[in-house]
Symmetry: C2
Subunit: 408 residues, 2 copies
């Protein structure tokens, strides 16, 4: 993609209201646009990071046949009334009316709709287990949206749902997603720690949060230094003592990257999601739900992978494999750009004629692609380019032909 016409610009000065590191860096690098408090658009850079994250998740879910579907954002209130959440959840659930005065809610999450559809699909025990997944927008009427994409009003979420014939089946499906989340966060270069969590508005069953220890986090987790037990402080009684080691738990802040829930029968009972067992008897389906916030994952990566100059994307998440910079050598650089594209290497190409080398380097550091390739008069004369990794200072001079090998 040519930077001259890129629908994104780096920003030098950010308002003092912007507190979190990731929010600052994503704004400065041109990854996100604020539209309203807690509401953002994604530039082509941010969009590409989202796609990388989604594909890492998809590839993992494909291994155990979680089927991708898509559920709507506007939900009839009657379904939420059936499970009681229309009444139980506070103002965070955004309630709206259509022109005829009918009640709807905006998707805060999709347990209700998933169960509502499952009721039409599931007939017998032979249909189960079923695992489904989607990437869909969630909307919450947050009173204090803050931290950029760490806590937004509107955000894209991966949310999966499992349907099983008994508790044992539910536990097995839960285990699949739990293990999958471990692998996914590793692939996202995020050190996520699973901790015991409260089901919150989802239900009373077992739940884990995948936590990134970080001062930017709004959650507090308690941990035992001796046995390694970890929990969101929400699940602990007043005395913060390890039940096993009888010593005091330490506390730290964390960002919740994902959460898994054993929902049990809460939704399926209200919405009548039944199956016939091998004796032809009706039973209620056991459900689980599993979610990762995509924007929050991007922000978490930005929170960790950066230096004083800007973002430092892990290769697997970077919007482009490399940032190609022409220093007054556009004819030569155009050819290298085209050749790289032909080899299937996605490159952001700084072809701008009105920027100084200093401005271009500063932008490249802010945006944070893993490789910087510079073509200047000095290198071009030998059909070579200067290559530097974003997280190293070492500069190599390589021939155009060698670029392919380095970037693939």
């Amino acid at each position: 993609m040519k930077q001259s016409h890129l629908f994104a610009k780096t920003i030098r000065n950010i308002s003092d209201d912007v507190k979190s590191v990731s929010h600052k860096l994503l704004l400065r690098g041109g990854f996100i646009f604020p539209v309203s408090a807690g509401i953002y658009a994604l530039s082509p850079l941010g969009f590409r990071v989202f796609e990388k994250i989604k594909n890492i998740i998809r590839n993992d879910f494909d291994q155990f046949e979680a089927q991708e579907i898509s559920m709507p954002i506007v939900h009839p209130a009657r379904i939420w009334k059936q499970t009681g959440r229309f009444q139980d959840i506070g103002d965070e659930l955004w309630k709206i009316k259509n022109r005829e005065g009918e009640d709807f809610v905006l998707a805060m999450t999709h347990e209700e709709i998933a169960a509502y559809i499952a009721e039409t699909i599931i007939k017998t025990y032979k249909d189960l287990p079923i695992l489904v997944n989607q990437f869909q927008v969630k909307i919450r009427d947050e009173l204090r949206a803050r931290g950029g994409m760490l806590r937004a009003k509107e955000f894209l979420m991966q949310d999966a749902y499992s349907f099983d014939k008994d508790e044992k089946g539910m536990d097995e499906s839960y285990e699949k997603f739990y293990e999958s989340y471990g692998r996914i966060f590793k692939n996202l270069s995020l050190e996520a720690v699973p901790v015991e969590a409260s089901g919150g508005v989802m239900g009373q069953g077992q739940s884990h949060e995948f936590m990134l220890i970080s001062e930017a986090g709004e959650d507090k987790i308690a941990f035992c230094e001796q046995c390694g037990y970890k929990a969101n402080i929400e699940v602990l009684a007043n005395a913060k003592i390890c039940q096993k080691c009888k010593i005091e738990l330490k506390e730290t802040s964390a960002v919740e990257l994902g959460q898994t829930f054993k929902l049990g029968l809460k939704y399926s009972r209200s919405l009548n999601v039944k199956f016939k067992d091998s004796n032809g008897k009706d039973n209620i389906v056991y459900m689980g739900s599993y979610g990762i916030g995509i924007g929050r994952a991007m922000a978490a990566v930005a929170e960790i992978h950066n230096d004083e100059k800007g973002l430092v994307w892990p290769q697997a998440l970077s919007p482009f494999a490399a940032h190609l910079i022409s220093l007054g050598q556009n004819k030569e650089s155009d050819r290298v750009y085209t050749a790289l594209l032909k080899s299937g290497i996605d490159v952001l190409y700084d072809d701008r004629l009105d920027k100084t080398p200093g401005e271009k380097f500063t932008d490249a550091d802010l945006m944070g692609m893993p490789f910087r390739i510079v073509i200047s008069a000095k290198t071009a004369v030998n059909k070579k380019a200067e290559v530097k990794k974003r997280n190293e200072n070492k500069v190599s001079i390589v021939s155009y032909a060698e670029l392919n090998n380095i970037l693939q």
Copy 2:
């Protein structure tokens, strides 16, 4: 994907309220789930068709560097008040308030937000043209949602926006999308006819609709049998006479598959989207917008590509390359299924043990994959399978090894 645990079921009987052919077939084939009037979820089958459609569009847009972005669904009303559309558009624009009483609207379309963001990006004439695209949900408070995905309250749309420095530039960008739409509809196996259209709530500039002639359509187009002139009847004066040939225009129904708009300065002026020209003087940016409804495209394909037994997907849009059916030969079929997956061939595998051959064939016809592969005791003994194209009656017996060649 194994059909035994598929999150989709075919349906034999559909309510008489369902009128349009595509709506009936998509429900019967298990592609969509109704959640509320005009609000649908996509099964794994429907989701896959959507992905195919999106990728056909993306591949075309990549050729002229339309950059993919993502804009939010909840918009602050103030931006819509600035362009006047908050006041001008009727109840179809879904207006909501948050818990603090602030006004928002649900994205009926994204001209406002695209212009709002462009204002922060575009500085000088060197930045232009810029072309952006997204696939994002649209929500309209439709009074009479009908025809399934032909007219929904909530639907996924491809919407692109162009930004240019003058009218000539706008016309060139418009031409790019106009030509692109021609290619895209061809690749979607839809015979779309471009007709002169009204800008409607978008603006007063030139506009074209890409129309599929069909009785299922809610639009009326007029055409001249002599010179080929075509227009939505909305743009015609009372007398439906061809201006050139002076003969009466004929009328027919059509489904609007896509629309292109020359927006001119309507949005950029209200939202102050300016650039400095080569003399350093401020100018207003010219905009265009270009949209295709993804659900409507799927419905249009279903409307045309079917027979009395069900859907007949064109290969480029089919959720799976083939439907593999085991007739009591699951051990053998499992092996063939795994081998096909390993070769990168996406197969829906009917591994169900409690269905008769008749039921399986009926389902396969309803779902409409381009190839049906049957493994029965008779064929398996020779390591062979029976292959039939969905749109042909001829049956061939081929070895497992040959399947790859047929399906790739």
